[in-house]
Amino acid sequence: MEPREVQTGTDRVKRGLAEMLKGGVIMDVVTADEARIAEEAGAVAVMALERVPADIRKHGGVARMADPTKIEEIQAAVTVPVMAKCRIGHHAEAAVLQALGVDYIDESEVLTPADEEHHVDKWAFTTPFVCGARNLGEALRRIGEGAAMVRTKGEAGTGNVVEAVRHMRTVTNEMRALTTMDDEQLMSAARDHGAPFDLIREVASTGKLPVVNFAAGGIATPADAALMMSLGVDGVFVGSGIFKSSSPEAYARAIVEATTFWNEPEVVAKVSHGLGEAMPGISLDTLGDTERLAGRGW
């Protein structure tokens, strides 16, 4: 008995991995040791990067794809999927990540953009991509370019969940509005959102995004994770929130548990006990426009 018509890198296979990550937490890690801590805590995947967003903010300069040596060390350390970030529009970094065999590529605004006009043509890759979005139009443009998963951009490295909430509520409200429109209105909506008409129609008929959508950018506590799950995201990315807290093991584990039991406040309360200091937060009012990462990409 041999399988026939074997196909790799299909839409279904790319989107399918994101389906398997649902209800889970994907954690930023910068070393193999951190990756092991994340996996032990119950992370469904890790994001290998050079520096967490809070440090990228602090150090400034150009933030790039992680060193392949580091990515390979992290791949060797864990059995869960390993994701890695490339710069927006940097298809050569993306090709390197594909060659390294990472399981998902995050074309991320957290790194310094390589192209201010174009995002990577993600259909050209076997490895699936996840991309950030602040609203429905941005999410559908990325899906139109081949993204197999999306996430809110939030405001990475701030430990402040307000932007992730804003982005998720915006996407939800915009989707809801589409479901009440007739076909003539949908074409106007496609123009207003700057999004492909076929995807606008698909969302109007299903009431949901065609791919899995996670929250990212500012989640720092178990209650933050529960909040985002209650707003309808499929799972959460936690960047600086774990390894910039006073006790990464405890935070990692508690955020995983709160994500699974987001609709049971007793469980979220229980796991939130005695975690120590969360990562230091930044009020969005104190950030200038150039310090906001969510505005990168379009």
């Binding site: 196909q7 299909t10 209800g23 996996e39």
Partner: protein, 187 residues
Amino acid sequence: MTRVGVLALQGDFREHLHILESLGVGAVAVKKPEQLGEVDALVIPGGESTTIGKMATRFGLIEPLRQSIESGLPTYGTCAGMILLAGAVTDGDQPLLGALDVVVRRNAFGRQNESFEADLDIDGLDEPFHAVFIRAPWVEKVGSEIEVLAEVDDHPVMVRQDNILATSFHPELTGDGRIHDMLIEMV
């Protein structure tokens, strides 16, 4: 009405609930031990087996799951579910139910770039099944009670033992209900 539970700690449990509903049975998300007594069959979904195993351990589900399956609850595991049902994995140390007499190799086909879909012949089904394999495991060793229902490159990817059914692939992603029907028939 037959009630089928789907373990809902993490993974694509919603897709399993949908496919079960489309087959006309009651579908229930199971997160707590006491819910196991209220279902006639159980699905352990796709997801990350390490995450699901750890959460099942932390929230007191491992022993109740083991006992329910041992006492005959018809159970079907897909991908991560197959791993969790296994007696052992070839490497690593993770919580397992040990209900199925097999050794499973995780991520056996490779990383995500090697994930694939294909038409597969399955014993007991007249037409081929379109199967989606995502960072999928295969069965490395089978015990004497194991019936192999499908293989890829000589590696078992679908097995049955008494009340337990397991596949390396994800019928819940294609909407083909024939394998879920096999579970429902076991009730």
